[in-house]
């Protein structure tokens, strides 16, 4: 069971309190009607599914209730960092050190 740092509560808490919410940094288009079918398909369904660092959304559903973003390694499952929703994607090389 992972311990997850909620950036709002600023505490490491058990995974049981959190819910996963898919890939992060995929903003809903401001005007969906302006998108072609292919563009809309990509928004809806196409995800990066990387082996390695994945930016993803979590919700502290049984805590403060807020959504936040995280960078997590999909191989080790380990969290590199978590940060509030709306903040820019952090610099990976700073998170993973020399391995990046």
């Amino acid at each position: 069971m992972l311990l997850i740092h909620c950036p709002y509560c600023d505490k490491e808490l058990p995974e049981l309190e959190f819910a996963y919410a898919g890939e992060a940094h995929i903003a809903r288009p401001v005007d969906p009607s302006a998108l072609s079918d292919d563009e809309w398909r990509d928004f809806l369904f196409i995800r990066s599914n990387p082996r390695g660092t994945h930016f993803e959304r979590w919700r502290h559903i049984h805590g403060c209730g807020r959504f936040f973003n995280a960078a997590r390694d999909t191989v080790t499952d380990k969290f590199l960092t978590t940060y509030p929703a709306g903040e820019a994607r952090p610099d990976i090389s700073k998170l993973t050190g020399s391995k990046a």
């Binding site: 069971m1 992972l2 311990l3 819910a19 919410a21 903003a27 809903r28 005007d31 969906p32 009607s33 998108l35 079918d37 809309w40 398909r41 809806l44 959304r57 919700r59 559903i61 209730g65 807020r66 959504f67 080790t76 499952d77 380990k78 929703a85 709306g86």
Partner: protein
């Protein structure tokens, strides 16, 4: 005294006899025995039959890795457990044990005919033999496999025990209480760190329990052990747990422990849990799990009486039991020589030591010869004999890996084998820590760590007590240092230590036909050396494929004995280096774990919560039949007298349509959407337009996913300009709130809106029927509820019978309807008041079944029953709920996706069976032409189907390809006892299509 017990020897209590039974016969044992040690003390080696060939099998090990000696245990009424390892189960008075996988008896087993047909059961036999014809699976193959192969029988009674669970946090968790673990615990404990030390055995000591002759700090091993355990037990910061297995090592240093609390007790304390599952979060973990002795692979290595040399040493020194009268040893490691010496000293005749190595420590060889043991170096064992107990083994010399001379036979009643030692790295592997092959020692060692852990002792191939103690103390000191504490590694002086080394082999050379050799690798799954070679010949290149094809390592012991032998043979067969072949993955649990321990408190009433409304008790008193809906239990119907569901529902439907019904609708999900931007938020979330909805009015709301499919629906009331009372489906409330929060927080954080779940704040009573207003009107104050002043789809605050209420005029039945919301604490009071007042109208309480029928008569859909996550508003025939002028809402863009506008989609329609008395089965498949060849093309399926008392016939809804275009046409529903014809009705509304009854 038992024939093979040595008076006064071992750690068993010789003054405390214990009796238990094995296959109905009483066995004399001593307190401190395991079932295995007690059976061996009585000369019993044959304890079971193997999985596939039903070969007689004996006790192979003295630990949790035991693959053979699995027994059924009965610890009192209802407390039967199959597949208990006899080597781990402690004896107590009254324990009953039985052998498994044999019929009619252990010594006379019919299934052993499988052994004579063993060539039919080679690797991949399941895949090859039972492929075709498909229909043979159910009737021939599977019953045969189940009858012929298998382990113990499942218990038939409900488990009467209960199981506990606990969380724990500590600085250092040490797994394994042998020399390394004890040294680590002393070091960490003396530093003041909070320490947990666990061991799966009944007492601490590990290999020291089998090596009493070693001296530590001037004391014999057991005196040192007593003193050490006493010191650790006296430390307030150290918690010792025996009979506790670390079953899994999870992320961020969480280790699962299963502590067995009562399985060793004749009379457990009343109400004591049987086991306790611990979730320990440790800052540092020290893995001191030791090593498992590896079997040697030779023809007949599985006969009862053939066992691990280290196990024989344990039975002798720890339990005071000799495993035979005259033994022969075959080994590739020094440790078995010491085992032979111990047995010989205890009076067992050792007829031969056969070592595969050409060079062996001369001190060992000289000692053996001085003790009168025949020594054969650079030799192999080519076979054993004896059916239910080994009687001899055949020895031959080896040169350059081949038998190079004549063989001879060594008589023995016990063969002690040792193929070296495998570090136990299971838990380390759970962390995805990488392993590295050590070519010199032919073992895998822990390499790169992913967690805050140390591996110490034999678990990283450190050998000998002196080095192991030092290694453990160093690991303890490293853990302490990582905590930022100071504490030097405790040091020890050891004398009379037994160090040594050895080699690792594939199967031993033989002069016979390797194809007919019965040389076992995985004893429990009956996998032989030749199976591995066959798998490779048949194209299995990866070790994971070899494992699955042969089932090597897939038994309950998870390859603890077989992995490395299988790997060595596969590597040889593939002609590839061991490093390149690699190891299969270890997964939790380390040893078999009861479902009870994993379930813990989550059983019976605690398995899942049952949500009840405030009116639930009334329904229970009235004899309602309940059904689970999401986490709620809801009254399904209220039978009177001897009514069945059909009769009760017909009566409830009729009463509601003709006069008045009352329904507990409290479970309906409720969300209050509040704020200056509430209407904008509603416009973006729901398909419908909300801007022009006046306060005091309601509208049916439809919620889509961004993919355009229906997610939820419900009536939504606008209370004021900036406040909406949203209702959702009973099961959908948490999902809908989560979805709303998601959009609000992450897509539209600029909107000033607050969302609050109010499901449990309100109790809701729905009144439906032509007399609904007549009942309600005299009770309502502060509101005119006439049709003119309070038309269908209105909402307002008022009081009902003096209770503060939020009153809706809505209907899910097609009748004149009101839903009275009162604060939940008044729910029962409101219900009883309406029940009393309603007697003049023969008010009828109805349940969810009647609600379903009444709504189906009106064609109202239920999300999740008539929709399944792939249904669009158009598919469901409710495009009218879409605000076409709105620029955007969740899911709008998707409604124009090519697949969603294509023809041939399944549409929700009404179905009327040609025979009005036939009620279709929900889920039944629908076809165009019942005479078409099988497999038929299926057009869709029935989603809702009921007997309609109001219409005097059956009604159904279905999703059918191009359904609305089939209006008036026939479709067919093939069922096991005949084909049913039905007519499509494009509209799903069956009753009162004009909606006149709503307008009373």
């Amino acid at each position: 005294m038992s024939a093979f017990r040595i008076a006064g020897k071992g750690r068993v209590n010789h003054s405390k006899p214990v009796r238990f039974t094995f296959d109905g016969k009483t066995v004399q044992a001593l307190d401190g025995d395991t079932v295995a040690s007690a059976l061996l003390a009585n000369g019993i080696h044959l304890v079971g039959r193997s999985f596939k060939y039903h070969r007689p099998r004996g006790i192979l090990t003295a630990g949790s890795e035991e693959p053979n000696a699995l027994v059924g245990t009965t610890r009192g009424p209802g407390r039967f457990e199959p597949n208990t390892r006899a080597t781990m189960q402690e004896v107590f008075d009254g324990l009953k044990t039985e052998s498994q996988n044999r019929w009619p008896s252990l010594t006379m087993d019919i299934g052993s005919v499988n052994d004579r047909m063993h060539k039919l059961f080679s690797a991949g036999f399941y895949y090859k033999t039972f492929m075709w014809p498909r229909s043979f699976w159910d009737k021939v193959y599977e019953p045969f496999i189940r009858a012929a192969a298998g382990l113990g029988k499942s218990p038939t009674e409900e488990d009467p025990d209960h199981y506990a669970s606990r969380f724990h946090h500590c600085d250092v968790l040490i797994v394994g209480g042998g020399a390394a673990g004890l040294a680590a615990a002393l070091t960490a404990g003396r530093s003041g760190a909070s320490v947990v030390l666990v061991d799966e055995q009944s007492e601490l000591g590990g290999s020291l329990l089998s090596e009493p002759s070693i001296e530590i700090d001037g004391k014999d091993a057991w005196s040192w052990l007593d003193a050490t355990v006493a010191e650790l037990s006296g430390m307030a910061n150290v918690r010792i747990m025996t009979r506790t297995t670390a079953i899994g090592y999870y992320h961020q240093n969480m280790v699962g422990l299963c502590q067995k609390l009562t399985d060793h007790m004749a009379t457990p304390p009343a109400d004591a849990p049987r086991e306790r599952l611990w979730r320990v979060r440790a800052k540092q973990v020290v893995l001191a799990q030791g090593a498992s002795e590896k079997p040697l692979v030779f023809d007949g290595n599985d006969r009862p009486g053939v066992m691990m040399a280290g196990a024989a040493q344990t039975y002798l020194n720890r339990f005071g039991v000799t495993v035979g009268r005259y033994a022969a040893v075959v080994t590739s490691h020094d440790s078995a020589w010491y085992a032979a010496f111990d047995l010989l000293t205890a009076g067992v005749k050792v007829n031969a030591i056969v070592d595969t190595r050409a060079q062996v420590d001369p001190t060992l060889v000289d000692s053996a010869r001085a003790l009168g043991i025949d020594v054969f170096l650079s030799s192999t064992v080519t076979g054993t004999s004896g059916r239910k107990r080994v009687t001899s083994m055949t020895v031959a010399p080896v040169t350059d890996g081949k038998v190079s001379g004549g063989s001879h036979v060594v008589a023995c009643d016990t063969v002690l084998m040792c193929g070296g030692w495998t570090p136990n790295l299971h838990l380390f592997s759970h962390t995805k820590g990488s392993l590295i092959w050590d070519d010199e020692n032919k073992v895998y060692l822990p390499h790169e760590k992913t967690e805050e852990c140390q591996v110490a002792g034999a678990g990283r191939a450190v050998w000998g007590i002196a080095d192991t103690l030092k290694d453990g103390a160093d690991a303890g000191a490293a853990a302490v240092k990582s905590l930022g504490k100071s504490g030097a590694a405790v040091t020890f002086t050891v004398s009379k230590d037994r160090t040594g080394s050895g080699e690792t082999h594939r199967e031993l050379p033989t002069d016979g036909d390797p194809g007919s050799a019965r040389a076992f690798i995985d004893f429990q799954n009956d996998v032989q050396a030749k199976d591995i070679r066959l798998a490779v010949r048949e194209g299995m290149k990866s070790i994971e494929h070899v494992k699955r094809y042969t089932t090597n390592g897939m038994a309950t012991d998870q390859g603890k004995l077989s992995n490395i032998n299988g790997l060595m043979i596969a590597s040889d067969a593939l002609g590839r280096d061991v490093k390149q072949v690699g190891l299969t993955t270890f997964r939790p649990p380390y040893t078999p774990t009861t479902f009870g321990a994993l379930a813990g408190y989550h059983k019976d009433g605690h398995f899942e919560i049952t949500r009840k409304t405030t009116i639930d008790s009334w329904a229970e008193e009235k004899g309602a039949v309940f059904e689970p809906v999401a986490l709620f239990r809801r009254a399904r119907y209220f039978p009177q007298g001897s009514e069945d569901m059909h009769a009760a529902v017909n009566r409830e439907c009729k009463a509601t349509r003709t006069s008045l019904g009352m329904f507990d609708a409290s479970t309906l999900g409720k969300i209050e959407v509040v704020g200056p931007d509430a209407v904008e938020f509603m416009n973006r979330m729901y398909t419908n337009p909300w801007t022009k909805l006046q306060p005091g009015r309601c509208r049916y709301g439809l919620l889509l996913g961004e993919d355009g499919y229906i997610r939820d629906d419900g009536v939504i009331g606008r209370l004021t300009e900036d406040r909406f009372h949203v209702t959702t489906t009973t099961g959908g409330a948490p999902r809908v709130l989560n979805m709303m929060e998601d959009y609000l927080q992450t897509e539209w954080p600029d909107l000033k809106v607050w969302l609050t779940s109010t499901t449990e704040q309100w109790a809701v009573v729905a009144l439906n029927g032509p007399n609904a207003r007549k009942l309600l009107e005299p009770l309502v104050e502060g509101l005119d509820i006439s049709d003119e002043a309070f038309p269908h789809m209105s909402v307002a605050d008022c009081t009902v019978g003096g209770l503060p209420a939020r009153l809706f005029r809505v209907s899910f039945t097609g009748e004149l309807g009101f839903e009275v919301n009162v604060p939940a604490r008044y729910g029962l009071q409101l219900w009883e008041m309406l029940w009393e007042a309603g007697q003049q109208y023969d008010i009828c309480p109805y349940g969810t079944e009647t609600m379903h029928v009444l709504r189906a008569e009106k064609g109202y859909i239920i999300i999740g029953q008539d929709t399944d996550g792939t249904v669009t508003p158009d598919d469901a025939g409710i495009s009218w709920a879409i605000g076409k002028a709105k620029p955007d809402f969740v899911g709008k863009r998707s409604l124009a996706r090519p697949d969603l506008v294509a023809s041939g989609r399944k549409q929700l329609i009404g179905l009327l069976t040609v025979d009005p008395k036939t009620v279709l089965e929900e889920g039944a498949q629908i076809v165009d032409d019942p005479k078409q060849p099988i497999p038929m093309k299926m057009l869709g399926h029935v989603t809702s189907s009921y007997w309609s008392e109001a219409l005097g016939r059956s009604i159904a809804m279905a999703v059918v390809e191009d359904g609305r275009a089939r209006d008036g046409k026939s479709v067919y529903i093939p069922m096991p006892n005949g084909v049913i014809e039905a007519t499509v009705q494009a509209s799903t509304v069956f009753y009162d299509p004009e909606g006149a009854r709503l307008k009373l």
